[in-house]
């Protein structure tokens, strides 16, 4: 048995590795630039001329803090036009434009030169003193260069250059940096004139070593054994040591974001599991024992209908008909709207929370209630047909004793194992209920994180869900062996 468990736990490692890779790849391709988003939410948009240098510095610093300045993975497989130093370019939109340019025209060195010259041109443009006369043109020129740096389409770039030329012709005070504009323009033409697309058909593998984003996320860069070296900048302890990184939304540690939310979800889940098993077992047993009677058929039909009724429909119907002044205004429609002060007496807060939780709890429970009752009924039915049950009846035992002592214990198998699948559901299974009733739990955290491309949170949630799934199925298998002595994992 122990050997079996150990073997299973060993298999966890490659499985979790695969899951982490899948989520990591999805995160890597997510649109949006978390650094830019965080900065703009902090100081309201792009910095102006004076603060531009500072803004650039902030960007680089924040990128480093979030660990986004490292290569993505241990290695990359790409076509050979992609430079292995591309990750060093700080702005994400620039990086994407440059990668595309070098793919289209084939020669990275030219593209790098073009980028360098154009960056230089931008810097010089920001150094020009703003006067009343040139303010408008200067602003337009800056925005044109800004667009230029994130554009890869040849036609669009050419239009931008001609716009810039037009601005420069119109505004004499800009002429001091015209040489930079020309340099950038020539560099771009150098890129497109030396087009060579052969490179894109040649695969290339770059090796980056352990200093990368994925390694940082999982293992961290703080040494596992031994002291931290002074003067070295450490980013994270890594997922395995409980450091889940920072939320991109508010830079709180992901661990604390999840901890705050999971309390709600776990409370609802636990109560719902309790109610479910409390009701489902007697219902299921009764339905099996009284099979064929009218009452049983009605119960079974209702259970089946409940089982296939979507939660979000039930939730919506409850809100429309029970939380609405037009019909019945019996319940509040939202849990987060709870207005009881924090210092109210415990009892009052308890009553209020319970009152707000009735409808969500109902939604949480009815589906699994129906499901588990049906499973219980099925398990019980198959046991009741066995010979030993007939024998028990034949030797004159009371029906009650036969049912509960002989049949019930043997029919528990499918129901107990379902218990194990409850835990992963606690993390993600409640999204829709939490959205409908605005409960500040895990489901809401997940949806918010997805809307904001807040990948550290998503990574963590997915990994936890995967771990719980794996542990759940292991527990289920062990329970099988414990409940049913016929099943053994040791001899094989």
């Amino acid at each position: 048995m122990l050997k079996y468990v150990l073997k299973r736990v060993l298999i966890f490692i490659p499985t979790l590795f695969a899951v982490s890779l899948v989520t990591f790849i999805i995160g890597a391709y997510a649109p949006g630039d978390p650094v830019a988003n965080l900065l703009s939410s902090n100081n309201g948009g792009q910095g102006q001329a004076a603060s531009r240098a500072a803004g650039e510095k902030d960007y680089i610093e924040l990128r480093r803090e979030l660990g986004l300045d490292l290569p993505l993975f241990y290695f990359t497989i790409s076509n050979s036009t992609v430079s292995d130093t591309l990750y060093k370019i700080s702005r994400k939109n620039h990086r994407e434009a440059l990668e595309r340019l070098s793919f289209e025209y084939g020669i990275w060195d030219n593209v790098a030169k073009y980028y360098e010259v154009t960056k230089k041109f931008e810097t010089e443009l920001y150094n020009i003193k703003k006067t009343k006369k040139n303010a408008k043109s200067l602003r337009e020129a800056k925005s044109a260069v800004y667009t230029l740096l994130e554009t890869y389409d040849e036609q669009k770039i050419k239009t931008l250059y001609s716009n810039l030329q037009f601005l420069f012709d119109k505004t004499p005070s800009l002429s001091e940096v015209e040489s930079y504009l020309n340099a950038s323009f020539n560099a771009f033409h150098h890129v497109i004139d030396n087009k060579n697309t052969f490179g894109r058909y040649v695969p290339k593998i770059n090796w980056y070593g352990a200093h990368n984003q994925y390694h940082n996320w999982i293992f961290g860069d703080v040494p596992w054994f031994g002291e931290k070296e002074p003067g070295v900048y450490y980013r994270s302890e890594g997922f395995l040591r409980g450091d889940f990184g920072q939320s991109y939304q508010d830079r709180r540690p992901v661990g604390s974001v999840i901890w705050d939310a999971i309390w709600w979800t776990f409370m609802f889940s636990l109560i719902s599991i309790f109610i479910t098993y409390l009701l489902a077992i007697p219902i299921g047993v009764r339905a099996a024992v009284k099979k064929g009677s009218r009452g049983e058929r009605i119960t079974s039909t209702i259970l089946f209908m409940l089982y296939s009724t979507p939660t979000f429909w039930v939730g919506t119907m409850l809100i429309v008909f029970l939380c609405n002044p037009d019909y019945l205004n019996w319940f509040p429609s939202s849990v987060s709207m709870m207005r009881t002060p924090e210092d109210a007496p415990f009892f009052q807060r308890f009553i209020d929370t319970a009152y707000h939780s009735i409808l969500p709890l109902f939604c949480w429970t009815y589906g699994s209630l129906a499901y588990i009752s049906r499973q219980m009924r099925g398990g019980m039915l198959s046991v009741l047909g066995q010979d030993y049950i007939r024998t028990a009846y034949a030797k004159g035992l009371e029906p009650k004793k036969v049912i509960w002592k002989h049949a019930f214990r043997n029919s528990l198998l499918p129901v107990i194992t379902l218990f194990a699948s409850v835990f992963p559901l606690a993390i993600s299974g409640s999204i829709v209920i939490e959205v409908i009733f605005t409960i500040p739990g895990m489901g809401k955290v997940i949806i918010d994180a997805l809307h904001a491309n807040n990948y550290p949170v998503i990574y963590t949630v997915v990994m936890f869900a995967a771990v719980l799934t794996l542990v759940g199925s292991l527990v289920a298998d062990i329970l099988y062996a414990v409940v049913d002595p016929r099943i053994s994992y040791s001899k094989k």
Binding site: T15, A18, Y29, Y201, T309, S333, I431, V462
Partner: protein, 439 residues
């Protein structure tokens, strides 16, 4: 009915009633289950509605005479979509409902799902007075905030629901059958291929992925942003490149097998590989995965279908594997071997058809689940683009205005019935085909 007719025309004899084959027995059992049979009828009815949606609810008339010319506007719009025809100038931006026709045959519901009736916007109730000229123009099931007809939305929503359910499960079934039968039929011992073939297959799989999806990455993403149909086209090209390269690898391996060193066989533990793969798939929280991918690609029905298909195959693969493990040691497979049939033929013609029963159960439940996932995604606004109407998105509107009960009840009922019906079919199939219940 139809089958009898076809048989008569072709001069075929109708199948004997006491057919002892696995399929005939199962179907006989299935037909005894009244509820399941009725469910199957409901599904057929729903499919008919989905196929005829354009002729049931449409702003365009079926036939109309307009300014002396007879039009079949719905058929014509198909032709226009295919690029075969063009609208005349005066009809290009026509408001079809308001045109003055000489005579006209309209669809039963004279609204398209995206039509905004400005006279009846802001939630017109089915029971209240509506601002319409006659009973024919009434919105029988009410309207939503923008004045879109709920009934028209329900009719066209059935298309999305069924399409998602069927296409997603089609993808899942293909993958599940392939991997499941490989794992079950060959197990860990029986799959042996020559060294050179293994090497070339791996090499060309890598190169194929590189050329099909790496080099063409920009072509794919560009087409995805521009138009969904052109994306499917580009994707098909990529797929052809990939498959072509793998076929090429196998052709190349043939002559090279002449060298004894390269000809040596390697055993591939295909069962373990595929089962581990299934473990990984099952431990990924599917819903989160779908939500995360949609956060990248943006709401799109195609994406939803493909991801559901790509994540739901493990159940089918497992069933298939289990059945084939049982079947492969039966006499008739041995007989097929003894007759010298190829492995491919033995699997395709003899093993898989007899293992399909349990798979059908999984497919029926899977369709129900896929429809439910799509409705859920549309409900939280992640499934379809906002201008497209589906049952889930209609239901979601009930949340923004709780007094609009008709937006909560009707789409919800449609989802409920469709899901229930597929579950009932699944139950019926379970009774008919489940190996555990087989006596």
């Amino acid at each position: 009915m139809l089958r009898k007719l076809v048989n008569k025309i072709l001069g075929r004899k109708p199948k004997e009633q006491n057919d002892e084959s696995f399929w005939a027995k199962g179907m006989q059992q299935f037909r005894k289950n009244k509820l399941a049979v009725w469910s199957l009828r409901f599904v057929k009815f729903l499919i008919a509605i989905a196929l005829l949606a354009d002729f049931l609810a449409n702003e365009k008339p079926i036939v109309a005479k307009y300014q002396g010319e007879t039009y079949f506007p719905i058929f014509k719009s198909y032709a226009v979509d295919l690029g075969l025809s063009k609208w005349p100038e005066e009809l290009k931006n026509a408001v079809w409902q308001d045109l003055e026709y000489d005579w006209v045959v309209r669809t039963p519901v004279p609204y398209s799902p995206s039509n905004m009736d400005q006279n009846n916007d802001q939630y017109a109730s089915p029971f209240d007075d509506q601002n319409v000229s006659s009973g024919y123009w009434r919105h029988w099931l009410g309207t939503d905030a923008l004045g879109r007809d709920v009934l028209a939305g329900l009719i066209h929503g059935s298309r999305v629901a069924l399409m998602v359910g069927i296409i997603a499960m089609f993808i899942a079934t293909l993958i599940g059958l392939l991997l499941g039968s490989l794992a079950g039929y060959f197990g860990d011992e029986k799959m042996k291929i020559s060294r050179i073939r293994l090497f070339l297959n791996l090499l060309f799989l890598f190169l194929g992925l590189f050329y099909a999806f790496g080099v063409r990455g920009y072509a794919l993403t560009d087409s995805f942003d521009s138009k969904e149909s052109s994306f499917l086209w580009e994707f098909l090209i990529s797929l052809i490149i990939l498959v072509g390269m793998v076929i090429f690898a196998n052709l190349l391996a043939r002559p090279l097998k002449a060298i004894p060193f390269l000809r040596k066989k390697v055993r591939i533990p295909i069962d373990i590989i595929i089962m581990r793969f299934i473990d990984v798939m099952l431990s990924i929280p599917t819903l989160l995965l779908i939500l995360a991918i949609i956060a990248i690609t943006g709401p799109s029905i195609t994406v939803v279908m493909v991801i559901i298909g790509l994540t739901r195959w493990p159940a089918i693969a497992r069933l298939m594997r289990g059945e084939l493990l049982r079947i492969r040691s039966l006499e008739y497979i041995e007989a097929a071997h003894a007759l010298g049939f190829s492995e491919f033929r033995t699997i395709m013609r003899h093993a898989i058809p007899n293992a399909m029963g349990p798979v059908m159960i999984a497919i029926a439940f899977g369709i129900a689940a896929a429809i439910l996932i799509e409705a859920f995604l549309s409900f939280i606004g992640a499934g379809v683009p906002p201008d497209q109407v589906t049952w889930g998105s209609q239901l979601a509107e009930a949340r923004s205005n709780a007094s609009a009960w008709w937006l909560a009840i009707f789409p919800g009922l449609m989802i409920f019935f469709t899901v229930t019906v597929y579950n009932l079919i699944g139950e019926g199939l379970t009774d008919a085909f489940d190996p555990k219940l087989r006596k």
